[in-house]
């Protein structure tokens, strides 16, 4: 049976690996290395599951006990790292959405899509099919 101190230490280690994995994901998105991206995402997913399991163990163990100074410090570190992971996620999401908006802007200019709602003569909503685009270049 693990004690809370060892669980917290293990959680901190796993979280460090998750943060490292997030940085690699960010890098692979910037360099457009999709194979590396897939690998890193699988790794981060695995570590996240591990972290979740450890967290439920920690929660059970810490239900009726008061944390000592060392464990309190480990909890604070854990909290700080979780915030850092959240910040990394937000930065990557912003980068992706900016790039997505740019590509969408290009497509809108090249093949403008109608966004307004269309109605048939009977009053039913018609969803216009988006025009298909053929790219004559291998990326």
């Amino acid at each position: 049976m693990k004690d809370i101190h060892s669980v917290l230490v293990e959680q901190n280690t796993v979280l460090d690996e998750i943060i490292l994995g997030q940085e690699k994901i960010h890098q692979s998105v910037k360099t457009k290395d999709w194979v590396e991206l897939e690998n890193n995402m699988a790794l981060v997913q695995e570590k996240t599951l591990c972290f979740t399991e450890l967290d439920s163990v920690r929660e059970n163990l810490s239900k009726n006990i008061k944390l000592d100074n060392e464990c309190s410090k480990l909890m604070s570190d854990l909290h700080a790292k979780l915030l850092k992971s959240k910040i990394n996620n937000e930065a990557l999401t912003k980068y992706i959405s900016i790039t997505q908006n740019f590509v969408q802007g290009v497509l809108d200019n090249v093949v403008p899509q109608r966004r307004n709602v269309l109605y048939s003569k009977n009053g039913k909503i018609i969803k216009p099919r988006p025009d298909s685009i053929v790219l004559n270049k291998v990326l």
Binding site: H26, K30, S72, K73, S76, H79, A80, L83, K84, I87, N88, E90, A91, L92, K94, Y95, I98, T99, N101, F102, G105, V106, N109
Partner: protein, 631 residues
């Protein structure tokens, strides 16, 4: 076809090639010019002869008439420009935040011997030592010296944070001036461009200059541009027009009366507040009004809380010279008026009451059920909030409910188990920090039970929007009242700047209290209980409303600043990557390639030489006709 038509064709070719060479030369000269877009001459074949009508000559046609330079256009992708303008403000926003958070981190990374944390640790240790030797003069002196080091380190941090705030304020003013300058220049250029276009020209260099100014403007604030009307180029900021054709609106800075003496950004013509988001200006305003303000408020709250807790014990304990009732730490009051009356609107008439804390007259028991019900109304983040209480609630439950609410008033029981209500920092910049704004009770908890207010209901409420509001407190206006609620005038803005050791204690070291009074009203020799209790504050959860000790507060503060710095840096690097991609794309389209221009020059040079040769041939042919035919 005329005899001299050939020369005319040659002349047109010479002109067109000369224009092309000049343009290529212009591109090369401006290769390193910021914001320059390469230009291309659009050559078009001249209209041929003959037109298909009945008057045409009976010769095979159509005969070409050479070419001319139709226009000179710049190679620019407008869609890319729009995307860059839309995104650039994010890059400068995070860049500004990263830069300032580096400064803020330096404030918190102070050397260990002068840091607040270490001076506070030594302060607690001095009380601990005094509790072991309560008769010692030297230990008392050490308490005072370490207390002075502590208040100095608090003041130093406050000075450093306020200094950053002042720097931000100056930067905001400079950015506003810069923004106005760019807007005025863009409006002037719009005027020239429209006139030039009306003459049928393409004012490429003027448009480049305008695009460069828009680029620079987009770094300062989040702007959008509108080119749908070619005669009226528009720039919008925060949904308002900044530039419309040749008209530019300007921003201004206006001093704010309350607060730290900073200025707010307004529109110069309407004097309405300008909401600037994004860009360096948006970042500076947010850093000053949110980040630095929160750091200073957090420091002030810690200072006020910890000083209050020390004073609470010290006031009720006895010094070696039998002095009692002294606060250890003192504050500079907001106003000298004992009722806290203050002239807020500056018209010469006192119109508000600035009171920080009330203490009730009755001693309460934490676990006692109150047996009464009602609703308290206290000032909150946005307006007043209601905190109900029920007969089965204990005093502790009611206190916790007040502290867990969104109210800007916190509650606790002091050493004598009297209920204390005190004000926190205000989340809105329109309200002052550490001032109780409204306290009301529909029932009797704050009235007869705790002994704070004189009566229930709205008519007996305490409200700071009037002078002498303290008359609503229990016993204040009653002559011969057995006891009256106590109150303390609010400290001056930024109490961390003025916190100090009581001069009465500094002047007489033996006034430092270490003992509690016994039943005879004096202190026993060797009694260090008060000193011990003060030393124990170190491990008490002192941050009211959060379960945190002072150590937790310090750790959290440093972590928070570190994380904000990291967030700014991560986002800045991310935005840099995006903008580098976009700018690289723009340079590949609009940038000048010297090799390409030189190759073009050689091409046009050959074209020019060939045209000159053509003119020479036509000239010799005409010479033959004129001088040798029929002679």
């Amino acid at each position: 076809m005329s005899t001299f038509a050939g020369i005319e064709i040659g002349k047109r070719s010479l002109n067109a090639h000369m224009t092309s060479i000049s343009t290529a030369g212009h591109n090369i000269t401006n290769a390193e010019t910021e914001g320059y877009s390469r230009q291309r001459v659009q050559l078009k074949a001249f209209d041929p002869i003959y037109r298909p009508d009945l008057t045409r000559a009976e010769t095979p046609g159509q005969i070409g008439q050479g070419m001319n330079a139709e226009s000179i256009t710049r190679v620019r992708d407008e869609m890319l420009d729009q995307r860059i303008v839309a995104q650039q403000n994010q890059e400068s926003y995070w860049d500004t935040r990263s830069h300032y958070y580096t400064m803020i981190e330096q404030v918190y990374n102070e050397p260990d011997d002068v840091s607040i944390r270490s001076t506070m640790d030594k302060f607690w240790e001095s009380w601990q030592e005094l509790s072991l030797n309560p008769e010692s003069h030297a230990n008392r002196q050490a308490v005072i010296s370490r207390g002075e080091s502590l208040v100095n380190s608090i003041r130093n941090r406050d000075t450093a944070l306020t200094g950053i705030g002042n720097l931000l304020n100056s930067d905001i003013e400079a950015n506003v001036e810069q923004l106005n300058d760019y807007a005025n220049q863009i409006a002037a250029l719009n005027n020239e461009i429209v006139r030039s276009k009306a003459m049928g020209d393409n004012p490429n260099d003027l448009m480049d200059r305008r695009d460069l100014l828009v680029d620079k403007l987009s770094k300062i604030a989040n702007i959008t541009t509108d080119r749908r009307d070619s005669d009226e180029y528009m720039v919008h900021i925060d949904g308002h027009i900044l530039v419309q054709g040749n008209l530019a609106r300007n921003l201004d800075v206006e001093s704010v009366l309350d607060g730290y003496g900073y200025s707010k950004v307004v529109w110069k013509d309407t004097r309405n507040d300008a909401e600037i988001t994004g860009g360096s200006l948006g970042a500076l305003i947010e850093l000053r009004d949110v980040d630095i303000r929160n750091e200073i408020q957090s420091l002030n709250t810690m200072t006020m809380n910890f000083a209050d807790l020390v004073n609470d014990v010290h006031r009720n304990s006895v010094g070696a010279n039998n002095t009692t009732g002294l606060d250890f730490f003192v504050q500079k009051p907001f106003v000298e008026n004992t009722n806290g009356n203050y002239d807020r609107d500056g018209d010469g008439v006192e119109d508000h009451s600035y009171v920080f804390r009330f203490t009730g007259t009755n001693s309460l028991k934490m676990q006692e059920q109150i047996g009464i019900e009602g609703t308290m109304t206290i000032s909150g983040h946005a307006g007043n909030i209601n905190v109900p209480y029920y007969p089965t609630d204990t005093v502790e439950a009611v206190i916790n409910r007040i502290n867990d609410s969104d109210g800007e008033v916190k509650a606790y029981l002091d050493r004598n188990n009297n209920l204390v209500l005190k004000a926190t920092t205000a989340s809105s910049m329109d309200n002052p920090d550490f001032v109780i704004r409204h306290v009301e009770d529909s029932g009797h908890f704050l009235v007869g039970y705790a002994g704070i207010l004189n009566g229930s209901g709205a008519e007996n409420a305490y409200d700071f929007n009037q002078r002498d509001a303290v008359n609503a407190l229990r016993g204040i206006t009653e002559e011969g009242a057995e006891s009256a609620a106590q109150f303390a005038v609010s400290p001056v803005t930024n109490p961390s700047t003025y916190v100090d050791i009581n001069s009465a204690i500094k002047n007489d070291v033996m006034s430092v209290a270490s003992a509690f009074m016994d039943h005879s009203g004096t202190a026993m020799n060797g009694d260090g209980r008060a000193a011990s209790e003060i030393a124990a504050i170190r491990n008490t959860k002192v941050m009211i409303g959060h379960e945190r000790t002072l150590d937790d507060y310090f750790a959290d503060t440093v972590t928070h600043v570190g994380l904000m710095g990291e967030q700014a840096e991560t986002n800045m690097l991310s935005q840099n990557a995006v903008m580098d991609d976009l700018r690289g794309l723009r340079d590949s389209i609009s940038g000048v390639n010297i090799d390409e221009e030189l190759a073009d020059i050689i091409k046009f040079q050959h074209g020019y030489n060939a045209a000159a040769k053509f003119v020479t041939v036509i000239d010799s042919m005409i010479d033959t006709v004129i001088n040798r035919l029929g002679v």
